[in-house]
Symmetry: C2
Subunit: 335 residues, 2 copies
């Protein structure tokens, strides 16, 4: 059909030079007369001119794009995070390009390289399976700013995290106040920094209550529903009366595993999750959990990164987002 409208078409139609059009359309046209400016805008609209991205990027060396890497798009926690990012992105000139890295360093590396090739302006990485030294190498070398989520960066960039330690403390205090003393912790074998902070909180509160930590109450598994399901087998061997699960997915798997073993929640086990994913209020019984402002986190992460891209020398920000305990029916007083 109609071939693409180029800047020269606009220039010709408006009776001005290509330079003039370019300057005006890029907001650098203060020096041109109001008349010329309006004329150019009018012609632009009339012809439906849209600047060619590739041509522009070739010069500006930017694609107005931010890459986002998450371990797993299917996890509601990350999908909410992504929704936050997308929401914020619409207010900016940048678009987010999202990938699920499937916890595979090779996949992650592949995407990072692919994104670098495409001259992304920045990266939000919520799935650092690739070693941090390598990441630094890949990214710093290319002067690409990035933001790490759930993992503390080596570099001195912006930092954005939720208050995991407090979150764990809230969960633990809740269980302790209900009278539980044998509290199992179910968490991943290779915890990321944020999970480690939850583990810290677990330990701190036990210490505060002068409870000796029990080796067998520390159950490690995969951070998925399946992982939780499998952990149930371990759990029932212990004398635990309550469980703090590192996230809700895990807790939901645990539900299934325990039910299949004829255990009742909360009669036999009080369970606290973490994340407050959408689903947690639909399971039976609705899950007591710690809510993180993930959606906010996505928005802020994107915004911070855009700011950093625009102003690379800006002082690094450090943001700590609050958490809160949502009490539902999966926990009850120990009789």
């Amino acid at each position: 059909m109609n071939a693409k409208v180029r800047i020269s078409d606009v220039a010709k139609e408006a009776g001005v030079s290509v330079t003039t059009v370019s300057q005006i359309l890029n907001g650098k046209g203060q020096r041109f007369s109001e008349q010329t400016r309006n004329r150019v805008y009018a012609v632009r609209d009339q012809l439906g001119y849209v600047p060619d991205f590739n041509a522009r990027n070739l010069i500006t060396r930017s694609a107005k794009t931010i890459g986002v890497l998450v371990p797993n798009i299917g996890n509601p926690f990350f999908s909410t995070f992504i929704r936050g990012i997308e929401k914020q992105a619409m207010k900016s000139q940048f678009i987010p390009v999202i990938f699920g890295a499937e916890n595979d360093p090779d996949v992650e590396r592949y995407y990072i390289e692919e994104l670098i090739k495409r001259t992304v302006d920045g990266l939000i990485i919520a799935s650092p399976t690739v070693g941090q030294e390598e990441m630094d190498h890949l990214l710093d070398k290319n002067h690409i700013p990035y933001l790490l989520i759930d993992q503390n960066p080596l570099n001195a960039g912006d930092r954005i995290e939720t208050d995991d330690k407090t979150g764990a403390c809230l969960a633990m205090r809740h269980l302790l106040e209900l009278g539980h003393r044998k509290i199992a912790l179910v968490f991943p074998k290779e915890p990321s920094d944020n999970i480690m902070r939850r583990y810290q909180g677990y330990c701190d509160i036990l210490a505060e209550y002068q409870i000796e930590p029990q080796e067998d109450l520390l159950i490690t598994t995969e951070l998925t529903k399946k992982g939780g399901y499998l952990a149930a087998a371990e759990l029932v061997k212990t004398d635990a009366t309550a469980v703090f699960a590192a996230n809700d997915e895990l807790a939901i798997g645990l539900y299934r595993g325990l039910k299949e073993r004829g255990k009742k929640i909360p009669e036999d086990y009080s369970i606290v999750g973490y994340d407050n994913i959408d689903l947690s209020q639909y399971v039976d019984p609705p899950l007591t959990t710690v809510e993180q402002p993930v959606y906010e986190m996505g928005k802020i992460a994107f915004q911070k990164l855009v700011e950093r891209i625009k102003e690379p020398q800006k002082e690094a920000d450090e943001i700590l987002l609050p958490v809160k305990l949502i009490t539902r029916q999966s926990t009850r007083e120990l009789k």
Copy 2:
């Protein structure tokens, strides 16, 4: 740090012309001597040369990118679909750029335009909230091939769908064989084509069993957990003994709504879902549902689109993917 290596650097270092390097590196170098070829490859590796995408795209008018629009990344059905896409994408030269349109036509339009600006090569659209005429206008005008999922396209492009009608028949037969005669259907107010096919299946089977359809057994609601939850209120007013839910999300919401009303599954209501999302085996009781090969569907969709991009004149394909019934514990014989 080190400025970017350009093709001219490679050419100089290898003692050949820029053309030679370009041709060889783009696999069009059969005509050059083996010696030259190897030399160029060697220098490329040595210098770590990576072609500039923007410069290349400017000429080829392609960004080796395929846009993917889904209604909602959080829905496990779509996240699995996306995983299939990503899997397949890694085998191609294309990267998928994924967006959740939040069922908002404006958002969808925004992304489509943003993608066109960036010269995407093709689009997979699983969330056609924007009217099809408009879509055709936007995309056909720009000669961008696209694939519609869950919705039949107006144009004569490739078509890929799952056998929804058979799926619905499987679900219904299962319930009827268990003795149910009062079967409610819970589905969205504005059904997409694939949901309509399920509705057809529902009707057909009722007809086959010579059961008069009951108005009040057709419950419409939003296609979400929340929607299912709300539908429970309608459901309990009817004399239904079984429910066919248009998807698993809906069924899970229904679970919660029914439980809050003191109803038991499957004792009071037998429930069949659709999709077999990951979660459906974790809920209590595990959900009987119809499985669609979503992951496969993602892979095939991506592959087909890439084929079409490479060969625009190719004859349109039509692919029908099979479904199957997964029987779990949410259905039982009517006593």
